[in-house]
Symmetry: C2
Subunit: 199 residues, 2 copies
DNA sequence: AAATGCATGTAACGCGTTACATGATTTT
DNA sequence: AAAATCATGTAACGCGTTACATGCATTT
């Protein structure tokens, strides 16, 4: 969002070093490879591909298909590789933090324990699923053909694993504490009218 | 950044439940309390306080000081508390992920092992410092007066602890692997001309 | 004398998401 | 017949950062 100059064009260049691709493919590839630590929308991808092409960082050619719409296939140029190298040589800036779940939890005294529990629970489910997918990807990387990128892909995947495992451990702890709070809450007369027994 | 409606005004309201404050104070408080999972710039804080006041979510009064500029002290209203409660009852949306360090690592085959090492190392130093600060805050929370918010503040702090510890473990592993790669790199003739001994 | 801290604010700028448009084919 | 998939694109909108403006007091 800021003056810290977007890396969108550079991600695209990076992915095009693996293989020439269309904008559509780039979108799919982003989701399925770097998806757990990076995302781009098509509203961002297509205009940036145009800009890359206009500046000679990529070449484009149209591929006709029968039955399906034409595809514009982009491939990285020497100039593009140079730009990518320059970007890679720049130290990544620390992220500006923004975690809305933690924010709502921080103000938890103003909220209902039930909703907080639900938020943490949902987050754990979601991240558990991502963790499983990363483990799957890891196995595929290990079993599949070795590319020059392979060791680096594993490092990135490993980050996801460790971080998500930490999140899940935290969620477990936190759900326990929230439960205790909710129990006290109920005891002290905040009970909601609710049926017990067969509904 | 998106259509997912900003939470800036709601953070401000949340903090004002603790104590009436000026915009300046809010900036400082954000940095020192929720800083590791949320940030707001003054270019965001001041206009949003105005909007909150214009809509009756907060009251403002000017406090004269000698020697220093006047302060506008904001306090939350009943209507403001209502808005905050509504926001808290909305499930937080999963973050769109953006980690530039991982992105550069993912494209590591196109970069120099030395710079990657530096990036990971710096990140570890930075996060190590944050971890120490969180531990410090945790101790202060535990030792200090108990507020209604206390248990929730600890949950948030605990999240930071677990996540950052995971990051540091990962950094250690990863630095080891990068070192191995760099060694191989040097062996296979990528050695840089460099002086040994007294420079 | 210059820089820093306190304190409030506005303006520029651009990034990024969502929504919309188009149109053929295949699946339900 | 309707919906989904493939595929490329544009436009609107607003969030959020940076930079700038102001001005007094204290510290270096």
């Amino acid at each position: 969002m800021p003056r810290r100059s977007s890396s969108t064009m550079d991600v695209l260049l990076g992915l095009l070093t693996i293989e020439p691709m269309s904008g559509y493919d780039l979108g799919l590839t982003i989701r399925s490879s770097v998806g757990f630590f990076w995302s781009e929308s098509y509203g961002q991808i297509y205009p940036n591909l145009k800009k890359l092409a206009a500046n000679g960082f990529v070449n484009a050619k149209t591929e006709r298909q029968k039955g399906k719409p034409d595809r514009r296939i982009y491939s990285i140029t020497g100039k593009g590789r140079e730009r990518l190298a320059n970007w890679l040589a720049l130290e990544p800036q620390p992220e500006i933090p923004r975690n809305e779940l933690l924010l709502k939890l921080f103000f938890g005294a103003q909220a209902s324990p039930e909703s907080l529990t639900q938020y943490v629970d949902r987050m754990a489910q979601r991240e558990g699923a991502v963790l499983a997918r990363i483990a799957q990807v890891e196995r595929e990387i290990a079993a599949g053909k070795q590319y020059p990128g392979t060791p680096y892909w594993r490092m990135a995947a490993r980050f996801g694993q460790l971080e998500l495992e930490a999140h899940l451990r935290w969620a477990k702890q936190t759900l326990g504490e929230l439960r205790k709070i909710a129990d006290k809450h109920r005891q002290s007369g905040h009970r909601k009218a609710k049926h017990h027994g067969n509904q």
